[in-house]
Symmetry: C2
Subunit: 365 residues, 2 copies
């Protein structure tokens, strides 16, 4: 079994301000990559800018990362980074800006290459990446993945290069300004990472240690998703659980719920967290009987009583997917033919089971 | 809180043979650093040599690492490495060769420097280090520490540079040829790492996750130390627990038992594992009352019932230290004046408590 996680992580209140010197040390001029507004509202962008200025490091801001960015969005940012002579990239925000930062760091370093290299299995260098997450789901700050929208394949897919951030600065305070819907959607993404990694063909003792601990931490703070007022500690826990879950999928990858979610996001515009969350109970449900003790352990650790109760609470939290019979069949066909994702499942899964999972994500017909 | 662990780890049967290509990729000519005999008996040295030859990588062997090596031993090996133009270092064996490999990698890279730089707080580069542990205690394959004997200070001390191995190849099979005394001494060192890291001023949620999981794994295999016949799985578990415990002290450092042990090893020639082990029950015993629930949890996880039972079993396993009244006082004085080690203790410890710990390590007077 393998364990690899080279990112230096600091999780604490004011992590960006406390570790500005470490952040600035990766280069002379940073390309800060973020979305249009949330990192301005929650203060993360200002924290990064203040820290860079304090340590006399230049920067330029690209604040046009889209949700589920495509290759065009990446190349636009990389063009700015190339023109401005930036030599490291700081991603600030949720999964979209963090994943984008990795792809952009690759494209700036390889300045004479075109976008085709993103999905080519080649050994390429990349600029150092610093990640500042402001949502509690992606875990991208400690994963080597960079999932982009691929219009050519009508889905989302991680680039072919594994790019771990050099530095992750993790601070729960950025969650304070997030709307409950964002908290829910991203915390459910982290939950999916824990469960998909724990019940994964590539799970190891190392990855299970991480996903199990993530479940413990997530379970303590989960009431927040159901409307309980959140404390500073709850935000820190949700953020910590998200990083731990990211570390877990760094070792294993994800499984069927993530695989199926890309259809919902690409074709139906459903946000990532909901798009994976609607499949979680169904995934646990199709696990063969020998997994039952582990499923019960996992659910209890998370604070749920049974698969049925868990399914009900997820529906309450996320609602269902609205899919036609045709779409349901298309999804089952697509996944049943996706050998890479099927290899992630820790048992022999057939099309009938996938169909059952997809149907379980829909409202009662 | 910080988490940093950049070493790529493979733990599995035949790890060295399975990952020869990764090992060979760190350079053109390796300096293999090992002790006089054990890595020949357990097959680790041959595995390394065969893997390098398979991938057309030159090497030279330095098989004269002493137990608790001093600076002279390091410089002798570094001299060979410099003359032979080696560009990476592979440590094979227990803690002594692995720690030595790190110091040697520093001294080969900085070829015009003298041994003084080992203990200077300077930012220096080092050759890549590959670590192949053959005992289940050091954890050095995943720590940045390199403890050497310092005759000038009459003690052991880690060098001033933090050097994580780039690659750790961990295989329980090398324990099969180890005498029971070596298994005991090294597994108790790992046990000390778990307990000292868990009850440490620098403990974080990350380090506690690692030390707690290490205790679970260690506890399952611990019967082996008391004479139960070991299975292949037991050896793998002891090796895994040792790596996990190493990861834990990578985040926190060690505490009083390690600090006190150096006196016993330097002045009394007591092997490292026993030298730390005799202080473990005493360390748990001086923890203030508020730690009691955690102490009980830790002992139960390890498979022990109480501090008293644990103390008895450790005495059965290791015996005691033979110390004069003068030596006992000298040790308490030394530690009570060691500010760096005192800062590792998660409460305000006084000389009286240290004296109690030292006395608890001795046979009844």
């Amino acid at each position: 079994m393998k364990f690899y996680l080279p990112t230096m992580v600091f999780q604490e209140k004011d992590a960006v301000r406390n570790h500005g010197e470490q952040m600035a040390h990766y280069g002379k001029k940073a390309l800060i990559v973020t979305g249009r507004s949330s990192s301005k509202k929650n203060g993360a962008l200002q924290d990064v800018i203040d820290s860079l200025e304090k340590f006399n490091t230049s920067y330029v801001v690209f604040d046009k990362v889209l949700e589920n960015p495509g290759v065009g969005n990446i190349m636009e940012a990389a063009g700015l980074g190339r023109r401005e002579g930036t030599d490291f990239v700081i991603g600030v925000g949720g999964g979209s800006p963090l994943d984008a930062a990795k792809a952009i760091a690759l494209m700036i370093q390889n300045r004479d290459s075109t976008e085709e290299v993103l999905y080519q299995a080649r050994d390429l260098r990349h600029l150092p990446v610093v990640a500042v997450p402001t949502t509690c789901g992606t875990g991208s700050e400690v994963t080597p993945y960079a999932v982009l929208t691929r219009d050519d394949l009508q889905t989302k897919q991680s680039i072919s290069h594994t790019i771990f951030p050099a530095l992750a600065l993790v601070d729960g305070k950025y969650l304070e300004k997030a709307p409950l819907s964002v908290l829910v959607n991203t915390a459910v993404d982290a939950l999916a990472h824990m469960l998909e990694s724990y019940f994964h063909a590539n799970a190891t003792d190392y990855s299970r240690m991480l996903s199990q601990y993530a479940m413990e931490v997530w379970g303590v703070a989960a009431d927040v998703l159901f409307g309980t007022e959140a404390s500073e500690e709850d935000y820190a826990r949700l953020m910590f659980a998200s990083s731990l879950a990211g570390m877990a999928i760094s070792q294993t990858g994800t499984s069927l719920p993530h695989g199926l979610s890309y259809y919902l996001t690409y074709h139906k515009g459903i946000p990532h967290g909901k798009a994976v969350g609607v499949f979680l109970a169904g995934y646990l449900d199709i696990l063969p009987e020998e997994f039952e003790p582990q499923v019960i352990m996992a659910l209890r650790t998370l604070g749920f009583g049974s698969i049925g109760q868990f399914a009900g609470l997820m529906k309450e939290l996320l609602g269902s997917a609205e899919l036609t019979g045709e779409e349901i069949e298309a999804m089952a066909d697509g996944m049943a033919g996706n050998e890479r994702k099927l290899a992630a499942v820790p048992f022999d899964v057939d099309r009938g089971q996938i169909l059952k999972m997809v149907k379980s994500a829909c409202a009662q017909p």
